[in-house]
Amino acid sequence: MFLDSFNRFFFRLFPIPKFLVTSSFGLDISDESLKFVELIATNNGIKLGKYGERKIPIGIIEAGKIKDSKGLENVLTTLRKEEGIKFVRVSLPEEQVYLFKLNLDKAGLINVREGIELSLEEHIPIQAQEAIFDYETLKEDDQKLALQIGAIPQNIIENYLLVFRNSLISVQSFELEAQAISRSVIKKGDKGTYMIVDFGRTRAGIFIISEGVAVFTSTLNLGGDMLTGMIKKNFNVTTEEAEQMKKKFGLQRNSDNREIFSVLLNSVSVLRDEMMKNLLYWQTHKDEYGKDHPPVEKILLTGGDANLIGLAEYFSISTKNKVEVGNVWTNITDTGNSTPEITFNKSLTFAAALGLALGDFEYD
């Protein structure tokens, strides 16, 4: 506590030279868009710097895999020239990352990484030599080491690295989307258990964060665009009109909205079922020490369509859990004293990018 205060005081008087800090942008890449955010350390805390979104033409990235390297290079080169991006922290698509728990016996264990490498193939369908992995310690006692492992095929990372290298952008980290989002919506130091539902345009990610670590992730090919598409199809309106109807009525259940409600409910209930399945799995399975997992305290919604009218209430009633829309500024700025430039609704789409940019302010 005293050390923290001293550090804050010291670095306020003697800030680290910018040349050394390599302030990096958070870069959230999805199949159709690329979101970037820069956070700047000031004497009054962390402030929002440059931010924005660029469209990625369809076909360049599919399900997280780069299909057209040149196309992505062009997008990134333009971004570097326009925004002056030199260093980035990038989120990886959940579909490509394997996340699992591993218990290692301490007896005879010399190197943790070697220990993981030996048992990697028992947990993921790729060879250890062809995988890139990293770990986070969950628990440790005299005999055992409980680890959370993240692994990804080497070729995917190399493809991303090559594209960034050719675009003259240096990658500081490749992180899990779940990890990045949790860093922006869960208060730093909060060791509680939360479920985060990232309701994006094309897909929805469901993550469980416990003791600050992403311990469970799953992805569903259901997003805001699908809801808009269903309204468009059912009411025979244009995409813009369907989008407006979705935002105006959402999941409100009243006489004017009865038809839209039932149309949206079909899709949203699929997401609810997936959430329930994951919740059930979490609550019924034991942890690595044979104990019950801590109960999920709250479900946090992020993503562009998280603010859909009535969505939080619907999930709350149907899952019998506390559900609220996440505040992506939790660890960045005191919204009671200063107002960020981005609107609250818009900021929900930048949850991952903001969380990535926050990585600069934590130990790597």
């Binding site: 030279p17 040349f19 050394l20 390599t22 990886l92 990352v97 890139i132 992995f133 990293d134 770990y135 986070e136 959370q148 492992i149 993240g150 692994a151 990804i152 080497q154 990372i157 190399e158 690295l161 990658v171 500081q172 980290s173 490749f174 992180e175 899990l176 990890q179 992403a214 990585g359 934590e362 130990y363 790597d364």
Partner: protein, 180 residues
Amino acid sequence: MINLIPNEEKKKKVLDFYFRLSVVFLMVLGSAMIIASVSILPSYLLSSVKKNTNIAKLESIKNTPLPQDDQKTLLAVSDLNNRLTMIENGDKNKYLVSENVISEIILRKMSDIKITQISYSNGTNQDRTILVNGYAPSRDRLLLFKQALVNDPKFKSVDLPISNFIKGSNISFSLTLLAK
């Protein structure tokens, strides 16, 4: 925090950081040296000019001939120094010879011979005369003492006048020695 960047890239990042740190250190060092040089430059120039002026002055003073009075004073001082050195050297060796002579006489003396006085004087031609007065219990003992001194190579001559043998016992004698 799980960071799925390859290990080689992580190492590169660390190297890159140290490279940047070195650059910052060198830049800070360079800036400090430039600032120090600039701030010290006026003082350096000023002291350099003063030094050159003083050297020139000293040279001109050295080259100026001394006045007559000063030359006399210098000669007097030099003469005085020589004299003082001589006195100091003489003072250092003042008792050296006499001590040696007295020690030699006492060494040769028998226990029953009493010496009452020894006088030492530097004569001309660097001759040193020693006069020894005392009492001997008998003529034989006195003669023995004289013989011991004669045998001593440190003495050139030993003079014991015959008048010293008038008395048969408890003889008051007076010996004259000439040291080498």
